[in-house]
């Protein structure tokens, strides 16, 4: 098919994924605050001012109209809950909840309804809803607009959780999430949105399977596991390590729930060492979960205890001098690897 190099940004790739789902399935709708913008003003010549806070839904309202691209009031309990109901009653909503910290407003709908209805009702209701939420500290957004919070969602049986790490995975996972008949949460890192990946993204509507991790660099000396933004951190740390003569393998987690135990464990069993890099708070985190997985199921293969490099157990500060210390740096990861190997 298309053999040309077709680089898209992280945001463009997501946009393309959403658009392809909307074209293919009329029951797909998009909802959220300013997913288009300037609502109700098209006749005055104003339309699609934002296209989503990060322009991920830009251009959709022109193609699909106001009945399928719905700007909402600032009422997360209302519109996230309405997404659950719409899904139960036959639609396939994509609900953008903007920054993941706003889960504080709509937690009831996600945790008590979205995660549980299928189970509580004996499997007789399906909820093909996708929630997308933006994560990560990206330069002075402070404590409430910089969080990651993967583990809160992954804690709940009934929710699937995926985290793209580059444009290619962003499009493939977006499509897979929106096609899935279970509720899926997609975490989109704001730190990836400005990155020039120069990565080819196919035009066709490909899917990446939910529940599969991917090896982005093979190696024999140590396994690095990254999640979303931190996959890049791991790749850069692996480059540092290569300069020092170490051959690191980098696993890009992609899926938090379900976990791809097979890929993770076979990598760890091969390299016998693992460093897990997570920008989320450390306690009861995905990093802890992966560490437990390694300890429980690869113990006999390990030459050293699993190591986690995470954000500290502290909220995210505003000032850049502190914010940059909150995020696991390439140096911290490199150092942690050297520690584990020596």
């Amino acid at each position: 098919m298309n053999k040309e190099h077709r680089p898209l940004t992280f945001v463009q790739a997501i946009n393309e994924g959403i658009r392809s789902r909307m074209r293919e399935d009329d029951s797909t709708i998009v909802m959220g605050i300013d997913v288009a913008g300037a609502a109700g003003k098209a006749e005055e010549g104003f339309i699609d001012h934002f296209g989503g806070t990060f322009a991920m839904t830009k251009g959709l309202i022109q193609e699909f109209g106001t009945s399928r691209v719905l700007d909402t009031p600032i009422s997360e309990t209302g519109f996230v809950g309405a997404g659950v109901g719409a899904a139960a009653a036959g639609l396939r909503p994509l609900v953008d909840m903007m920054f993941v910290g706003f889960i504080g407003v709509c937690g009831d709908q996600i945790f008590n309804n979205m995660a549980k209805m299928h189970y509580m009702f004996g499997g007789k209701v399906k909820l093909p809803i996708t929630i997308q939420a933006q994560t990560a500290a990206s330069g002075g957004n402070a404590a409430q607009h910089s969080e990651t919070l993967y583990s809160i969602f992954a804690h709940f049986p009934g929710l699937k959780c995926v985290v793209p790490s580059d444009p290619y995975s962003a499009k493939g996972l977006q499509i897979a999430a929106m096609k899935d008949d279970d509720p899926v949460v997609v975490f989109q890192s704001t730190r990836l949105m400005g990155v020039n990946f120069n990565q080819h993204v196919p035009e066709d509507a490909y899917e990446l399977p939910i529940g599969k991790s991917r090896i982005v660099k093979t190696g024999n000396d140590i396994t690095l596991i990254g999640i979303g933004t931190t996959t890049r951190t791991c790749i850069q740390a692996a480059e540092n390590l290569a300069k020092q003569g170490y051959d690191a393998e980098v696993v890009d987690l992609l899926s938090i729930s379900p976990l791809d135990e097979e890929t993770i464990l076979s990598s760890i069993s091969k390299t016998r060492k693992v460093v897990i890099v997570d920008e989320d708070y450390p306690k009861c985190s995905v990093a802890s979960e992966l560490s437990a997985l390694a300890a429980e199921k690869a113990f006999d293969f390990l030459d050293a205890p699993p190591k986690r490099v995470t954000a500290p157990h502290a909220s995210i500060p505003y000032t850049s001098v502190l914010e940059q210390l909150h995020f696991p740096s390439v140096d911290n990861v490199t150092y942690a690897c050297l520690e584990v190997m020596n």
């Binding site: 700007d71 407003v105 402070a142 409430q144 502290a314 909220s315 505003y318 000032t319 001098v321």
Partner: protein
């Protein structure tokens, strides 16, 4: 301007003018800091100075104010030090929050400013709780929460209004209706086209006021504060106002509103109107008002220099203030 101005003491009138101007000059400087890339951006309060000014004119240090993401004007009107505010914007250790909170979280408990808040609608129940504290302790202090037209769609407002009404709490719910939530028009998002009308459902007074007219705001707020202090319960005030700039940072509002609309509000500018009023009323001369403006500019310049000269927080601050004691 308004009718019963004669009853307003001269010092109050002058304080209100000084406050309007100080907010305007501070916000202009904050915008310059953002435009020049020294900070990420702020939610500019330019155009919306009159609402907190007219309300805070009635408040004491032991009254509470709680804000939202657009709160620099609330802070200044409540008496928060502008040196510390500017230092906070620049992320310095001398800032109101030691550089940890930034533009959306400025707080100074010593001035009764219990914080700006970045989650829309989130502070409304908190303000209700401050009022509950006053009531339980038999104190006569009041609590004021500022929120936008967008926030009026959050359940937190409705739950709080109900609580405050059944318990007769001394709280003012103040909606700054600047007609937009990001780019979403009020007309689209607020059913019934009125926030103030919603008070009726909770059996409390709901008043709409011209938020570009500080004297009118002052008068409406006076009644509401008195009612609250006497223990007669909450009031909902909807102040019709306008932000002159985009929602945040570099947002260009011309993508969702017309230059004519913008001009209509700029012609009603709260500072120009107050200037005219004070001169016509014989309260102050043009020269006196100009001196006040010059003073505000000098204070903002000093605050900026203070912020620039201040040090960044020590790296150890990353882990302080998470708890008082842990474990």
């Amino acid at each position: 301007m308004a009718k019963s101005q004669s009853s307003i003491p001269k010092e109050k009138l002058m304080w209100m003018f000084e406050t309007l101007v100080l907010i305007r000059r501070f916000e202009e400087q904050a915008k310059r800091e953002a435009d020049q890339g020294r900070i990420l951006g702020t939610h500019s309060a330019i155009g919306e100075e009159a609402t907190p000014t007219g309300i805070c004119a009635h408040l004491r240090d032991d009254d509470y104010v709680l804000g939202n993401h657009r709160s620099h004007h609330h802070c200044i009107a409540k008496g928060v030090d502008i040196n510390e505010m500017m230092a906070e914007l620049l992320g310095k250790a001398t800032g109101t929050n030691k550089g940890k909170g930034g533009t959306m979280h400025i707080a100074d408990a010593t001035k009764g400013m219990l914080g700006a808040n970045g989650v829309v609608g989130s502070n409304i129940p908190v303000a209700t709780g401050c009022a509950l504290s006053a009531k339980v302790q038999n104190k006569d202090n009041v609590s004021v929460v500022f929120f936008g037209d967008g926030a009026s769609s959050q359940g937190s407002l409705h739950e709080s209004m109900n609580l405050a009404a059944i318990w007769d709490l001394p709280v003012l719910f103040v909606c700054e209706n600047n007609r937009y939530a990001e780019s979403t028009p009020f007309e689209y998002a607020v059913a019934g086209q009125s926030v103030a009308n919603r008070a009726a459902g909770y059996g409390m007074p709901g008043v709409t006021v011209d938020g570009q007219n500080v004297i009118e705001v002052y008068e409406v707020a006076g009644e509401a504060v008195e009612r609250a202090r006497k223990g007669d319960g909450p009031t909902l005030i909807e102040a019709m106002t306008y932000r002159y700039h985009g929602h945040f940072g570099a947002d260009n509002p011309m993508g969702y509103r017309t230059p004519e609309e913008q001009k209509y509000y700029e012609d009603k500018d709260c500072i120009i109107a107050m200037e005219k009023f004070l001169i016509e009323n014989g309260t102050a001369t043009q020269e006196q008002l100009k001196a006040i403006d010059d003073d505000a500019k000098a204070r903002v310049e000093k605050a900026t220099q203070f912020a620039i000269d201040s040090a960044y927080p020590d790296p150890s601050e990353l882990l302080s203030d998470v708890y008082i004691k842990y474990p």
